[in-house]
Structure formats: C-alpha cells, structure tokens
Subunit: 390 residues, 2 copies
C-alpha cells in the first residue's frame, strides 16, 4: 500500500456561477465549469483521455457529459456517494491517473436542485428506510446542536450566538466570491432572528438549495509543469464509510462523526500530516449547517475535542485567523449542489494555493484541505492539496 | 500512458443465484455474491481496503454494501454507467489497485428488478429526453435486426431462424449453469413461435427481467499467489462512451456500434491482442437480444463485418466451436440485473480460466474476454483476462 502523494497534479479548474440557475440547463452548468477548467489548463477536449462525473440525482451514466463537453469515445464513469459525490469524481480521477493508464483526465460534478427538486436531503429514493426513519438533514443536525449546547451548559442565546458567528464568517467570505449564491453580509442579530427551521437551527444556520457545477483537469505529476507553472499536487485523499447509522451506535456522543475522523486519518497518513492545526494553512469544510462546521473543526483535529467553540471565539477560522476555514463562504454562501460541492471545495483550495483567491487570499499558503460529509452522516472525504512537490 | 496489463489480479469471485428473487432483499443478494468471493479468495471483510459498488437504480451511495458486507471505515464508491455499471465496478476497482493506494479491494454489483421495477430499460429518470424519444430497448434492437435482415436479403423466416440459433445456443449453455435464471433448452421452433415483443424479436430473443448480484476480490498482481495458486490477471479494460445517439449520426449503418469497437480497440491495445478471433479463447458478451450478440461478433472482430451469421451457421461460437461465446448462457439465461451483469460476465471468464467451469468448460483457455453494452447504445466495456502473467 503506497500513498497517492505527489503522483497526481491538478492543472485546471473551473466552477459555474452557483445560484438559482433557472436560466441554465444541467448541460449549461457543466459547460460553464468545464470550459473554465479547459482554458485554465490550456487543454482541448480532445486531450482528455478519461473522465469521471459526479451527480447524486441530476443525471445518469457517463454520456450525460460526453456531448456538452465534446468528449468522444473515451471512458466516462458516473460516481455517486451522497454529499461526497463531487469528491468521488476527484478521487476516482486521481486513482485513474495514479494507475498509469491515463495521463490527462477530467473530473466534473453538478446538480440541478431548483427545478428537479430534492425530496428532503437524505430521504431520497433508494435509501434503506432503516437509515432514514423520517429524519431530515436539518432535524438531524439540530440534535447535534442541542447536544453540543447541553455539553457546554449553554442556554439558547449562548448556543445560537456561537453558531451565528460561523454564519457571519461564511457570509462575509462569500461577499468576496463572485460565483457564490449568496454575496451579502449577515449580522449575529439577523441570524438569531431568522425563522427556525429545526430548533435551534434557523434559516441562516442552513445552506441554501442551489444549482451549480465544478470541474478539474488532472494529470501525472511529472507532466504538470508542461501545462502550467503553478500546478497543485494531491497530497492525500481519505474517504470513509461508516457502516452504521451513528445514532444506532451505543455510546454515540452526538458531537462528531467517525466518518470525518477516519477520512481525515487516512488523508493525513498519506500526506504525512502530523499536526493538522499547525500544518494546514487553509481549509474548506462541509458547513451544510453552522453546527456541522463546528463539530468538523474538532473531528478534523483543527481544534481539540469539545473546544472548537473556543477557536470560534478567538477568530482562528476567520480570514485573518491562524487557520482560515471556508474562505470562499462555504456551503453557506455557495449552497450544496451535491455533485458539484466536493469539486467546488477543491476549487477554492486550488486558487488559494496558486495565490489567485483575490480579496479572499490567505498569506503563505502551502498546504490546504477540502472536506465533504454525507448521509446521516456516514460518509466523509478529506483531500489535501499542496503547491510544491517534494 | 501505460497499460493495466498484469498489474492487477482477481483472486476471488462470487455470484448470487440469478432469477426472480422475491425471497431475497438487495442485501441478501449482495451477501450471497460477496461471501462466495470472500471464501473463494480466502479473505475476511477486514482485509478489504476499499470497495466499489455498481447499481443502476437499486440503491445509492457506498453505504448500501457497508453493513451487509461488514466493511468498516473504508472508502466505498458507487459507480453507474447504464448497462455497463457492473463492469465499472470492476474497472474502477482495478484502477484503485493499479494506483498503488490499495492492495486488496472489492467490486460488487447488484440489481433488484422484479420488485422495484424498471420503467422500460433505457427510459428512466434523469435521461435526457433527446436521447430517448420514446424508444424502448426491444424497439431499438428490432431496428438493428430488420436492417441486418435487409442487408443480407433475408425474409422473415431466414432472419428469425438465424437469430434463433443464438437463443438456442445460450439456452443450452444455461442448462449447465446452476445459478442461471433459465436452465432449460429451447428449440428453433419454439423461438420462432414465441410471442412477438418488437418485430422481428420474439420473447425468446430477449433476456428476462432478473434479480442478481456478483462480486470480485482484486489485489496487486505481485501479491496474487499469496491468495491462491490460480489467480486471474487483468490484461486490459477498455471503455468507450459515444457522445452521440448512434441513430442521429449521418451514415449510421444500424448494424454495429462505435462504443463496442472503441472499447474493444482500447482493451486489445492494452492486452496486446492483434487478432481477437485467434487469440481470445472464450468470451461472454452482452446478448440482451439475439441480434445484439450477432452484431457484437462483428464489432469485437470475432467475425468479419457483415459475416457474423456465417459463424453462427458454422457453430464457431458454440461450446464445441473455435471461439465459444456466452458459455454460461449469457444474458439470455442469466437475465440482466444491470449492476451485476458486468461482474457476472467476468465470473464466467474467471471460472473458465481456472478450469472450473464444470460441464461448460472450454479446453485450453488462456485468454478470455467479457463485454457489456449500454444505453441506446452509447457505452461499452471490454475486459480481457488471462491465467498467466506475461
């Protein structure tokens, strides 16, 4: 068992405008994202030797992207893994390159949620009813929030104010992301006053329902400099599926997830990361709800267990902090077009590593991390990217 | 761009009983197949480092197989590519091994068609309506048959009799497959008298609607002999997506498919096969309809273009022929539980290469081929397996 480290490079990325894209078909979104990536990498469709496409419920089969992206007679595989779907496109594309069989491949992810609908995240067709039992995503994560409040002895105002700071941070970062769904500031007061979705989570604790697409061009690391002077290298990709619904596990503490911890462990081992808080310079994580981002800080080792809130208070994860998280605004600002999200989180890290994140740019970025979390939650992916090989 | 050749071995395989499995859930089918594979390879669930699961519409996400197969905290990816879905599980698992990141992985495919239903093969949710236009699979392949009849100047009886011989052969082979859905002989007369489904294709020209699952354990080729004395090696896997509906292409001849030819070309190049008719010893191909098997002979280079029928007349593809095809009875006898089929076709080749195909055993098998075809058709996969490392 070797590592993926420095075998695969990303040499082009693109994302569509995220939002209520009533103006655009799935094909339009895919084209927006992939053609930005083609141009960024300086490749033509005919250079692509294989592709992977991630979508949860907005399409079937590889042929979905073949015609719009002018991919002719190559292998194109659809991958799906709930909310981790976009990361699966990236991961399987990376494995394809590392296998030696392909030199240049494409990973694309997309979802069109506004017009096709999504019958409650996590309660769709094909899911085992045992795993769902009427739960919705807001209801599920509300339980995590109430437990976190309880563990820390917080009343409603204390707890909701803490979570609001995550929303305020991500909305602020989103104002500097021209392709984000939401690009406006919110105040703690606004978050506290927002209508309740599932107590204690209000509307501004939740990510919106959004259409979008994202794409990446990957190649063999040793070829990367022939495409561009500033390629980004894959240092590790961990992915973990928890076979059991966490709430069915005796002793489940409701303040973190095995899938997060195991995906991070795999990725850190591959990348040789020992102390993520010190070594990771910037991160994008799965803030489907504000409470989710808080427990992810702890699951990924950015904060000690039970102490993520102290780092929120200290501003550790703001743009000016020691470890900026969701510098682009995260799911809070970009929404969660499922198949696109993993690749969108990678796009921000890619731009940060190249020093091309504009007003959101973090200083001295050498190693970045992107993360998604899916299901109830039972699946997570952590990818670590760096801007030097070595 | 290197080849996959001899980097990856298959060291265990299993299939469920195929049929109308009202008695079994998806999980039951997956367990039947995977536990045969675990036992065949002499591995425990804890030895599996990553997994890929193929299903078209019978489940979502990797978690589908995690609990029934006792896979804990590893990456499990769902792949889907219409009727090639089972082959995608095998192919992505092989890329995972070849990448160096994993030493031992699992590929599983399944579909439960009898109770969940399938709204006409190829007309499901998520498909672009442009590609479907009311076509059903029997109607689509009926057009291929009428064109083939026309090209050769055959009347109804001549054409239907030619196709019937494919059905008779595959039903005969199926009588020697204890896990096949159908295990009974049919006569040419029965095939000709069967109710018409889409003229000229009758009921016995069509594969049935079937439940089933199949599984494979893959490992690094250099580790294979530590699992078993008779591993099977992957020589090449080609997969091709045609971006255009064939019937929309000017000059489309209606007697073969680009996806087949391109997938075969990729696989032959990887495996170093120059003359497939001479070099391939046994094959399983996608006989969703009898006419499909006939044009596949030509697309894969088993017969010269337009002359597959001569080989049917000569008995080339029977168990006693020079190049036995669908020795296990094919889709005609096993049905087409979509996610399972690619792995089921590989299972037969695996057993033939090990000399363990019982009464169906072909003599002197060193190189075998398995094939699936999907969509309208726009996607095909060809995998070539061998029993010695070269």
């Amino acid at each position: 068992m070797e590592s993926l480290k420095d075998k695969v490079a990303i040499v082009g990325m693109g994302i569509s405008k995220f939002g209520e894209r009533w103006d655009a078909s799935s094909e339009d979104l895919i084209i927006e994202a992939a053609y930005e990536a083609y141009e960024d990498a300086g490749v033509e469709p005919g250079d692509i030797q294989a592709a992977w496409v991630g979508t949860l419920r907005s399409g079937e089969a590889g042929v979905t992207i073949a015609d719009p992206l002018k991919l002719k007679d190559i292998p194109i595989t659809r991958v799906e893994n709930w909310c981790v779907t976009g990361h699966e496109a990236l991961r399987n594309a990376a494995l394809g390159i590392a296998s030696g069989l392909y030199d240049v491949v494409l990973a694309v992810g997309f979802e069109k949620l506004k017009d096709t609908g999504m019958p409650g995240l996590g309660t769709g067709r094909g899911a085992n009813p045992v795993y769902q039992a009427g739960a919705t995503a807001p209801g599920y994560f509300a339980n995590i929030a109430t437990r976190y409040f309880h563990d820390h002895g917080w009343d409603e105002e204390q707890g909701k104010t803490m979570l609001a700071k995550v929303s305020v941070k991500n909305h602020h970062n989103g104002t500097m992301s021209p392709k984000a769904h939401f690009q406006r500031e919110v105040t703690v007061e606004e978050v506290l006053k927002a209508p309740i979705i599932s107590w204690p989570l209000g509307l501004l604790d939740c990510c919106p329902t959004t259409d979008g697409a994202a794409a990446a061009i990957l190649c063999r690391a040793d070829l990367a400099k022939s495409f561009r002077s500033d390629p980004v290298y894959i240092k590790g990709i961990g992915l973990s599926v928890d076979p059991m619904l966490p709430t069915l596990r005796p002793g489940f503490d409701y303040v973190g997830f095995e899938a997060n911890r195991n995906a991070a462990r795999q990725a850190y081992e591959q990348a040789g990361v020992v102390d993520p808080r010190e070594e990771i310079d910037v991160a994008t994580v799965h803030d489907c709800f504000t409470i989710t981002e808080l427990v992810i800080y702890e699951d990924l080792g950015f904060s000690p267990a039970g102490r993520g809130w102290e780092d929120i208070e200290a501003g550790t994860f703001t743009l000016e902090g020691d470890l900026p998280v969701n510098t682009d605004g995260g799911l809070k600002a970009f929404g969660h077009p499922v198949g696109a999200t993993g690749l969108r989180t990678a796009y921000e890290i890619y731009k940060q590593l190249q020093g091309k994140a504009g007003p959101r740019q973090v200083k001295n970025v050498e190693l970045g991390l992107c993360h998604t979390l899916g299901g109830t939650p039972q699946v997570a992916c952590v990818a670590i990217l760096g801007n030097s090989k070595g």
